[in-house]
């Protein structure tokens, strides 16, 4: 395996900018790795090597000409979740309905990556329209977890997380509606960040649940995530929910955290997110992580947020409700699949036949649940109550943040399960999102950082750190301090314990 693919993005960028290695060489090394291991992992839905090498060449030419790099990450390869539009390559959202669709414009996140000189390798696999927790709902087949190819990599952004863990890309973009960045991060031993809602533009992010959807960075180290965060965040007039405020100083916080001093930092353990339903190995890893934070000087307190017990239920009403409305755009008229247009069927029949053929079972379930929750007679009991729960969750976060600077919990109550294990039981699948959903409900920030391997099955566990809205840097500081201490205690980064993949 080429050493270039094992480097953190920050180090790779430094070598490229110093002229020690070329971006073309680094890009080619990752393309070779993808060719070798992706037949087994299936992290990518689309790879465009030619375009990636062209972008890499432009960075090398700039370096050779002595020009200042476009950003600290210029020349570094990156994988993009297939829910963000990228002009010139397909955007499928893991759905047959959008098979072969080329968006006529770039998402703001895509544009920012290109402007910053990042080299887009391709688009990553995901649960269809980001609806799922295991990447098994992709119409193009599941992604496999590099830690154990019989297991799921988490979801919906399993492709982005698996690409990092398989050393197919040093950086990736994910989107997090109910945990789809953080939970795959936890299950693959990588770092995943959900920024404060409204701080990364949703323009060009194909909508699932608009009031939750948030793009964010996926990386193998906290510092790399911070570097990528600063590239993609910022106000965008093209997104009416975009916050016109400076990007939180996440990079400075990650650097500060790496010093390993958390004296004066108050960490709150959320009682409702540790306990019932958690795998013992996950709880043990979490307790060890909290002990580590205490050793670094943090003061640990317990906080209680009773309405978090209702957050999962509220999410699985609000998100499907928004989805049922958002996915109405897939009407077989302007783009995407069209089925049954034989001259005998009406437009409405063609629409129904197309959606039947183009959507998978989970998308259909959520559209119907949303339709149900929003219908007359049920609206107040379901959607209305769920929106009240949302307010309660946000209020309880506020109260907890009055007592602690950051809050912590395990990222997922379980480690990666076997492919197929939960696929016929939607409610069991939803339970996996227990710990991540509260942050989406409140719109605040949360980061997942690897906390080691679960003693019961040897699979990665994630520590989740919540920060108040627009205080994303707090989580970065704590996660970076924890990461440095964990790596020092365990003799290196967790990701380097991932088993060698068989190379084709």
């Amino acid at each position: 395996m080429s050493d270039l693919i094992r480097l953190p993005a920050a180090e790779l960028a430094a070598k490229i900018h110093a002229g020690e290695v070329s971006s073309v060489g680094a890009t080619q090394a990752h393309l070779d790795r993808i060719a070798a291991v992706d037949p087994a992992v299936h992290a990518f839905l689309h790879v465009d090597g030619e375009r990636a090498l062209q972008a890499a060449k432009a960075v090398d030419e700039a370096v050779a000409a002595g020009r200042t790099p476009a950003s600290p990450l210029a020349g570094v390869p990156i994988a993009v979740k297939d829910v963000l539009t990228t002009q010139g390559s397909p955007t499928t959202c893991g759905s047959k309905l959008l098979e072969g669709w080329h968006a006529p414009y770039d998402a703001t996140v895509t544009r920012k990556l290109l402007d910053a000189g990042l080299v887009i390798l391709g688009k990553t696999n995901m649960d269809e329209f980001a609806m799922g927790s295991s990447t098994e709902n992709s119409a193009y087949g599941p992604t496999r977890n590099p830690w154990d190819l019989d297991r799921i990599p988490g979801g919906s952004g399993g492709g982005s997380a698996a690409a990092l863990a398989a050393f197919e890309a040093p950086l990736a973009i994910g989107t997090d509606t109910g945990g789809s960045i953080r939970q795959p991060g936890a299950m693959t031993g990588t770092v995943g960040v959900k920024p404060t809602y409204g701080t990364v533009s949703r323009h060009g992010l194909v909508a699932y649940a608009s009031s939750f959807d948030q793009a964010g960075p996926c990386a193998r180290t906290v510092l790399d995530a911070a570097l990528l965060h600063e590239v993609i965040a910022g106000h965008d007039p093209m997104d009416s929910t975009s916050i016109d405020a400076p990007v939180p100083p996440v990079l400075a916080a990650a650097r500060q955290g790496a010093d390993g001093d958390l004296r004066g930092v108050k960490v709150g353990v959320v009682r409702e997110l540790v306990g019932e339903g958690h795998q013992p190995g996950v709880l043990a890893s979490f307790e060890a992580a909290v002990a580590q934070l205490r050793e670094l000087g943090a003061e640990v307190v317990e906080v209680s947020c009773p309405s978090f017990d209702l957050a999962l239920a509220a999410y699985y009403l609000i998100a499907p409700s928004e989805a049922s409305s958002n996915l109405a755009r897939f009407d077989a008229m302007r783009y995407g699949l069209r089925v049954g247009d034989d001259g005998s069927h009406s437009a409405e029949e063609v629409m129904s036949l197309t959606r039947e053929a183009g959507f998978g079972p989970e998308v259909k379930r959520r559209i119907m649940i949303g339709t149900y929750a929003l219908s007359a007679g049920y609206y107040d009991a379901y959607y209305g109550s769920a929106q009240k729960v949302r307010t309660l969750v946000a209020r309880e976060f506020d109260a907890a943040f009055a007592r602690a600077d950051v809050l912590v919990s395990p990222t997922s109550p379980v480690t990666a399960f076997r492919i197929g294990e939960r696929v016929d039981d939607p409610v069991a699948m939803y339970q996996v999102d227990l710990c991540t959903i509260p942050s989406n409900m409140a719109g605040n920030a949360a980061i997942s950082v690897p906390s080691g391997l679960s003693a019961d099955d040897g699979l990665p566990v994630g520590l989740q750190v919540f920060s108040p809205a627009l205080q994303d840097h707090r989580g970065y500081r704590v996660a970076a301090a924890y990461e440095a201490a964990r790596d020092a205690a365990q003799g290196g980064a967790l990701i380097h314990r991932v088993p060698e993949l068989e190379v084709v």
């Binding site: 009403l317 069209r338 029949e349 039947e356 339709t371 729960v389 939803y430």
Partner: protein, 99 residues
């Protein structure tokens, strides 16, 4: 306890423009029933007087400056159309036979 019958699923599928099959109706009826049972506990707060929320940092009156920006060309807009004719989207008939 809430319940979703097979005929209710059929109705929802029609509202949602999904031409579901008979087998799917059987499958979804059981699954949607379980999902609705699992989420119904939000009803615990139904009679509390709590305002709904949607954004962590509430925004009001979000305006963009009124300047001309390039939009899609007709070619770009039609490039992904399932069917196009004479520079327009071609769609199936929108009225039923009896209309």
């Amino acid at each position: 306890m809430p319940s979703i019958s097979r005929s209710e699923v059929e109705h929802l599928a029609r509202l949602a423009r999904l031409a579901v099959t008979e087998e799917e109706l059987d499958l979804f009826a059981g699954q949607l029933e379980k999902i609705v049972q699992a989420v119904a506990k939000v009803g615990q707060v139904a009679d509390q007087d709590i305002p709904p929320m949607s954004h962590a940092v509430p925004l009001t009156n979000v305006f963009r400056s009124d300047v001309v920006r390039p939009g899609l060309t007709p070619q770009q807009a039609l490039a992904a159309a399932p069917a196009a004719e004479d520079g327009r989207f071609r769609v199936p008939r929108i009225l039923g036979e009896e209309a």
